[in-house]
């Protein structure tokens, strides 16, 4: 039996296919302006990847900011519910799950049964999410993936005061003008987003083990800043971007039993 979880994020669409409740295939595509079309495309590709047809799928659960744009979904779940479901499957001892995506950061505290005990989401602001790093990389004329490595080579901590992605950009520009190195600026950017995420995590309470998921978990520079700020290591599970889609797929599996 096949079940599908589909996570329609701000920037990418993640699809996880389960066979008898176990991960079987996954696919990631870009979310374009036409969400319905991007969803359709990602789903088709995911099915191709798995080598199965649409009618072999018993149940689909959607999550993510665009979860209502999935016409073939049987049920919807919020990102918070999907994340905690997914993370407990791959990391049963996780109690604090930090999810940093393109447009949203989330901190979720779950109990030993995997129920959500508390959560916080960044307040209508990009400065605590991935797109902030992306726009700062543009100001530094760097590719997004270069930001992380470069930030690890920083030699100083340059505080960034701006709480807003737009104002932060002008701060970055003035750092460039004052001949601050790209390395130090990259770390400053990651410190800024990490500090926003950390204050959100502190709001829900920190309990080990701590997982970091979402696309920004690929950014080694951010991870270093986050761990330094939290004064503890965080665990990044395999396929950290797919945890939400996995949680949705697990709910689809449970719903079809």
């Amino acid at each position: 039996m096949f079940n599908v979880g589909i996570d329609v994020g701000a920037k990418t669409i993640k699809v996880v296919i389960l066979r008898d409740g176990q991960p079987f295939a996954q696919y990631k595509g870009l979310a374009g302006m036409d969400t319905a079309e991007s969803v359709e495309q990602a789903y088709t590709e995911a099915l191709k990847e798995a080598g199965i047809s649409r009618d072999q799928v018993k149940r689909v659960v959607s999550t993510g900011v665009g979860r209502k744009e999935v016409p073939f979904s049987d049920e919807e779940v919020t990102e918070v519910g999907a994340d905690s479901k997914g993370i407990i499957f791959v990391m049963p001892n996780c109690r604090t799950c930090i999810d940093v995506g393109a447009e949203e950061g989330r901190a979720i505290r779950c109990d030993d049964g995997g129920k959500v005990r508390d959560f916080a989401v960044n307040e209508k602001c990009a400065a605590g999410a991935g797109s902030f790093v992306e726009s700062m990389s543009r100001a530094l004329e760097l590719k997004l993936h270069e930001m992380g490595e470069l930030s690890l080579k920083a030699t100083r901590t340059v505080p960034m005061n701006a709480q807003c992605a737009v104002f932060a950009e002008s701060e970055v520009v003035s750092l460039i003008h004052s001949d601050t190195t790209k390395e130090d600026i990259a770390r400053s950017v990651h410190d800024a987003i990490a500090s926003r995420i950390i204050s959100m995590v502190r709001r829900v309470g920190i309990e080990p083990e701590i997982a970091l998921i979402g696309g920004v978990s690929h950014n080694v520079g951010f991870v270093e800043c986050l761990e330094r700020g939290l004064e503890t290591k965080v665990t990044i599970p395999d396929n950290a971007e797919f945890i939400g889609a996995l949680g949705a797929a697990l709910l689809a599996y449970e719903g079809s039993k």
């Binding site: 919020t78 990102e79 918070v80 129920k115 959500v116 005990r117 508390d118 959560f119 307040e123």
Partner: protein
Amino acid sequence: MKQFQSWYENHHQYCKDWKARTGGKIVGYMCTYVPEEILYAAGILPTRVLGSHEPHDVTEPHIFGMYCPFCRDVLAQGLKKRYDYIDGLTISQSCLHIRQAFTSWQMHLPLEWSYYLPMPHHVQSPRAVPFLREELVSFKKSVEEWTGKEITDEALDHAIDVYNTNRRLMRQIYELRKAENPPITGLEAMYMVVSSQFVDKADHNKELERVLQNIDGRLADREVGTRLMIIGSENDDVAFMSMAESVGATFVTDDHCTGSRYFWNEAPQDADRLNALAIRYVERPRCPTKDWPERSRIPHLLSMAKEWGVEGVILIQQKFCDPHELDIPAIKKAFEEIDIPTLFLEFDVTTPVGPFRIRVEAFLEMIRGEDLF
């Protein structure tokens, strides 16, 4: 029931019609600690000055950007001449932000009469009632001098009676919300309370009585979902209430100055009418500007949650609202200790419905955890 919504949506038209019909004066008030009864006894219609939930750019020269969006929205309504029918304006001391809106209004807009009422902050002091009583003597005198008419004991008795009736009827409405299937939604209750803050209470009472007569079995088929309570500062954000109640929840009670705090207690019987009013305003459920040093709000909120069968609490505050920022951590902790989860949201002039929907839905999922796991 539609009448309350219609009043809410046509606040200014109602007041203008009232003025045309009666020829009376209208006084805007900016805080619910204003003793409206004294104005009403003078034949004046008190109308609460509220915001419009539209972005604006007119208050910048007058109010600091980190003052709460509500006080800025309120002043914007004045500057945009939306309240051009009011003859006077008053405020009772509560928070500095709204006071700034008041003084700015006094400076920039024509008013026949305006009055700043020093409502005591230390309402827990035994001296609060005599203090406020003396202030009410001055307030009443000022109204009398302005209108050129004495406010008689009979008129005060009548006003107190009309206001107490309104409070009693609203309490009855809220009592009904304890039911398994509340016959009114949180949105409807908000329309009721907010409209009562500017509609002539005699008219409002008639409408409440009519609604109460026909309320049996109302909304019996509506899915109640999770029973929520909403707590916080001024809130007349109907867009938010309506969104939250459309995703599987019902607000069964609240603690807002646009909600239960406004009508919860009545003025007692007292031959000294102003003393009765002083007691009423000193003893009403407190706004966080006044709930000190003892924290009387917390036991009140907890017992309310228990009586109304609340499963989750949404804590809201206007952005930059210092008094509520002070209270919210303590309230959150108190609810967590009795296993009632809370969700904190920061309100602005406009509500970002999409992001808020995600938070509310995730909160409801968390409460109904067993469905997911």
